[in-house]
Structure formats: C-alpha cells, structure tokens
Symmetry: C2
Subunit: 350 residues, 2 copies
C-alpha cells in the first residue's frame, strides 16, 4: 500500500526532472539549431528513443522492486520522508547537470536558474492535481477493491489521449486513435484474473470517482507537458529544478502534518533498508525519465512506455519470482504489441 | 456434441450454396456488364453487404438454436441424416433459383447445369478436406477439453488469412494484417473463462493437431473460394449445385457406414423435432450465405462475419437465456470492433 502510493505518483508523472543524459541531448541539439538537415531529425529520434527506453526500463524495474519489497516483508518507514527524499534527489541531480552545463557553455538566458513569477507560477499546478487525485484514492476503495482499482486505472490511457488532443491540440490519426483504444483494452486484458469480473459490479459512485481520477491524472500529465514545452529552448534542468522545488515543499508540509511525531521520536530514516534506498533511487530516476519524455517526446509516448513496462515486468517476474502467465496476459500482450505497431504505422501514413 | 458437429462443418463453409437472393444480384450484374460506372461498384458493394449481413445473422441464430436445443434436452436423431438433409435442401434451393433464372433469361453457357469433368473434378476436394478435419476432431479431445478446443479453433482465423494470401495471392495491407491478428486475439479474449488457462497446458501433440485442423479448415475455405471464383461469369447456383451433389454423396455414404441400422430400425426421421427442423433449415441457409460470401466477397469477409456473429450471439443470449457477460467479453468485443474498423481503414489507404 505504501509502496503503491509512491508508485502511482511517479508513474503518473507527478514529479518531473531531467539529468546528465540531457548533456548529450544538448550537444546534439546544438547541431539541430544550426541547420535543419536530416541528421538533426535522426539525433532527435535517437534522443527520443533513449529517453523512452530509459523510462520503460525504470518503470518495469520499479514494479519489480515493489514485488521484491512485498516479499521481503513490510517496511515501517514513513512514506512522506521517502517522497521528500525522491524530490530532493531529483533536485540535486538537476543542479548537478546544470553545474556541468554552466561549466561548458557558461550561463545563458536559457540555462540560468533565476526565473520570473510569470514562468514559475504554473509549476505547482500538476503537484496540486496529484495531491487531489491521491486524496480521492483513499475514498475510491470504499467502492472498489485493490485489483479492481488496478483495472480501472487503465482509464488513464483514454483520458490522457483525450486531454492530449483537447489541451495540447495535437492531432492523432484515426489509426492512432484506434491503437490507443487497443492499448487500453490490451493492458486491461493482460491484467485479467479470475476475480476481475467483480469490477463490473462497481457502483456508479465508484465509476464516477475512477473517471474523475483518470481525468485528474491525465490532466496533470498533459499540463506538465504544456509547461515544459511552452519554452522549448529553456534548459530542461532549470524547468525540472523549479518543478521539484515545489515537490519538495509539498512533501515537507506532508511530513509535518502526517509524520511529524514519528520523525521526531524515531528519526527521519527510521525503518529504511537497502530496498527503500533502491526504490528512492529508482523513483528519482523514473521521475527524471518521465520529464525527459515530456520534453523530447510526449504523453502518448509516456503511456506506451509505461504500458510496455507493465508487460515486461510480468515476463521478468516469471523468471525472478516464478509467476505464472495467464492466457489473458498473452492475448493482452499481443493486442498491446499490435497497438504499438499501429501507433507508428498510423503516423507514417499521415 | 451432435449439434456442434453440424455447426463446425457449416461454419467453416464445408458445404456451399446460393439461392434466390442471387436473382437480384444477377439483375444488378446485368447493368454491371454493360458499363463500368460507379453505379456498378455501388451495386456490388450493396450485394456484398447483403450477403455478409445474411451470413452474420444466420450464424448467430445458428448458435442460439444450439443453446436452445441444449436447454431443451438431448436429441436422439442421427447426425448423418440431418447433414444429408442439409445438403439436399441446399441442392433443391439451388435448383429452384436456377429454374427461375432459366425462365427469365433462358439457358446460357453460364447458367446451364451440364458441366465438364474439367470443371467439376475439383469440387469434391473441399468436402474431403472437411472429412479429414472432422475425423481429426475426435482425436484432439484426447489432448484438449471442449472449452479448450473452442479457444484453439480461433487459430482458424490466422490460418485462413495466411492461406488466403498464399493460395489466392491476394494482398492484405499491413494494417489489415494487424487487424487480422487482433480479430484472432479479440475473439479468444471474448471467450475467456476461469478455466481457459488450462489450454496453455496442451501437450505438443494437441497443438500440432490444432494447427493441422486450422490449416485444413482454412485450406478448404480458401480452396472453395478459388473454385467458385475461377469462373466469375458462371452462375453461382450451378457451381453450388455441383458442390452440394458431392456433399449429398459423401453424407449418403456416411449414413450407410455409421447409421444404417438406426435408420433401418427406427426410420430416417427418428428423433426429429421442431428444433431439429429449424436447425436443418438454418444450416442450409447459412451454407448458402457462406457460398455467396465466397462468390461476391471473400474468406476474409466470411471470417469477420462469423466473428461478429459470435459476439452478437453472446449479447442476444443475455436477453434470451439470462447469460452474464464477462469483462473479458467486453474487452474482446472492443478489440474485434477496432479490428473491423482497421480492416476497412487499411483498405482505403492502399
């Protein structure tokens, strides 16, 4: 439960960052700004692929860490301190990346840390949206059980697509829309088990909450992309730094409200283990990867990336934990694979 | 079990025919042969739609009759006599359609009943293929249970697509191939139940037999299309008449071998009921519809038609028999619907 909370937040791109990887991206972009030759396109495509693969890898290893931690037993650390550390680590990584850039390129209009109220005022909005969504999460369990909630979370895929179209005004081809519906159906199919049918008995309030949560989560993701892409030349590490500063602030408040006594009595790091440390590291890197996908690709790529990660996790779990794959999983995996193909085939035909 | 045997045969297009519907088609085709105006295309498209809808309707009502007959109890008629009557009825309907055509158009080279050995020699081949397939069907149950066999039968979809490409040398676009894979995955998903995972434990022999059966069934369907389309101007009723004559002959032999004693002692129509009669009528009309789809559309359309019929049957069964639809059914239905859309979208973009 505790682990899922962190997971949901990061998977949805609640907190966003960039890192040293960006240095390479920046170098390539230097060529891009000079001339519009195919080499630029190739470099962009390469960077997009690298960040997408990184996100896929990090998301699936994240899920595996969760299973591992569950098997190892319950951890008694406070979630708020872990979330705070994740934000702090992302901030630190952004600053480290910026320091290297300043050394090589000097401080410019695009990479200076100082900002204007006009630029920074929208940055806390995604964090607030996730906060509302996470609050709702406690109430939805009155209507749906945990496996049912996992099924309903696939509505995020549809809401992200719809809001991506409405808010960012980017068009998907009809084939790509079809692919997106398939992605949602395929992911849900892959997660089917003998008790999944219970989700059909969800009362109306449960459905409404699930849809509202999907819309909040989709809106937060799309809004983050809008913020980051609003100034394409602005260095991503600066954008991330400001996003994460608000993340740190929100989580600091959460520590004070929820876990002040525990931290005071047992210490900030009480209950931490190697797995906790690995998970914090993983969440920080995943957050950075989400942010880079937002900058150099988009929310659609992010959704595909995390969906494929879900399938990879299941396959890896067969070897690591002796899980059994169901027929439904294979069918869902086929549908998701076809969806990935159609997404790119649909793009080419535009 | 007995009913399924008839069903498999007809669903797979084991026996083929045409009927009075063709008169209208022929009338429209009269215009078509004069000029190649868009009106011709429209008429062709209309005829294709009518036969496809007829096949979908007949196939789904066929499945509903099967459920109804199962509920009503076991019927003690002999399957061979019922199959024989189906073939006879199709022959009679073909002759009746021909008689009307001869009256209006006179006897021509294309609609005369007499034939050459060269034309007719290939006609028994599909019947032989189905015979082999139906024999194999008894052996596969040593390795797979009945629900598992229903799941494995979806391999027919893939085999039909592959053989359609290889034998008829007709190309499908990449999008259409993707749609075809989705159709197979979607149909299987819609049929999932709590015991479906057992099919994954099927031994190698079972898989091999299932694949061989799928290939036989796909080959028979594609081969029938090849026969019927080899002479496009030849009247479909004549082609059907010869196909069904062999069907009658094969089934007459089957009566002699399997049910000679029962027929002699209890009579030809022993155990017949209203449902038996309705099913024979339905099978005859379905066979005719399959044949018309082969002539005016193709095996791909036939596969889509019977897949959509499977979904329709399930929905209608909710109202008729109080069946419950599963989440897997809804997901499968979404995937099949997207597949139908992609099949036509993929065609337009060629």
């Amino acid at each position: 439960m505790e682990y899922r909370k962190i997971k949901d937040e990061d998977n949805d791109g609640g907190t966003i960052s960039d890192d040293i990887e960006n240095l390479r991206g920046k170098g390539l972009l230097g060529v891009a700004s000079v001339s519009n030759v195919p080499a630029t396109e190739q470099a962009k495509w390469k960077r997009k692929t690298v960040v997408t693969l990184a996100l896929t890898f990090l998301t699936s290893s994240q899920a595996i860490l969760i299973v591992w931690s569950k098997r190892a037993g319950k951890y008694e650390y406070s979630v708020t301190t872990a979330n705070f550390l994740v934000e702090t680590l992302k901030c630190a990584l952004s600053l480290a990346a910026l320091a290297r850039i300043w050394k090589t390129e000097g401080v410019t209009e695009d990479n200076r840390l100082s900002t204007t109220l006009d630029e920074v005022i929208v940055y806390p909005i995604p964090a607030v949206l996730y906060l509302v969504k996470n609050l709702l999460q406690y109430y939805i369990f009155a209507y749906v059980d945990a496996p049912g909630y996992q099924i309903l979370k696939n509505l995020n895929i549809i809401s992200t697509g719809v809001l991506y179209r409405i808010i960012l005004k980017k068009k998907l081809s009809e084939i790509q829309w079809a692919a997106f519906i398939l992605l949602c159906a395929g992911c849900t199919t892959a997660q089917l088990n003998s008790r999944s049918d219970r989700v059909l008995q969800t009362p109306l309030q449960g459905w409404i909450m699930a849809i509202v949560m999907a819309l909040l989560s989709g809106f937060a993701g799309v809004y983050t992309e809008a913020i980051i892409k609003k100034r394409p030349s602005r260095n991503i590490n600066v954008q991330n730094f400001w996003l994460y500063i608000f993340g740190m602030a929100f989580n600091a408040v959460a520590i004070l409200i929820q876990d002040f006594d525990a931290v005071m009595n047992k210490g900030f790091f009480h209950g931490y283990s190697i797995i906790t440390t690995l998970m914090i590291l993983n969440h920080a890197l995943s957050g950075i990867a989400v942010s880079m996908v937002m900058k150099y690709a988009d929310n659609i790529v992010k959704v595909y990336s995390t969906s494929v990660a879900m399938l990879l996790t299941a396959v890896v779990s067969v070897f690591l934990f002796g899980f059994h794959l169901t027929l439904a999983f294979f069918l869902g995996a086929i549908v998701v694979s076809v969806s990935v193909y159609l997404h790119s085939a649909g793009k080419l035909q535009r």
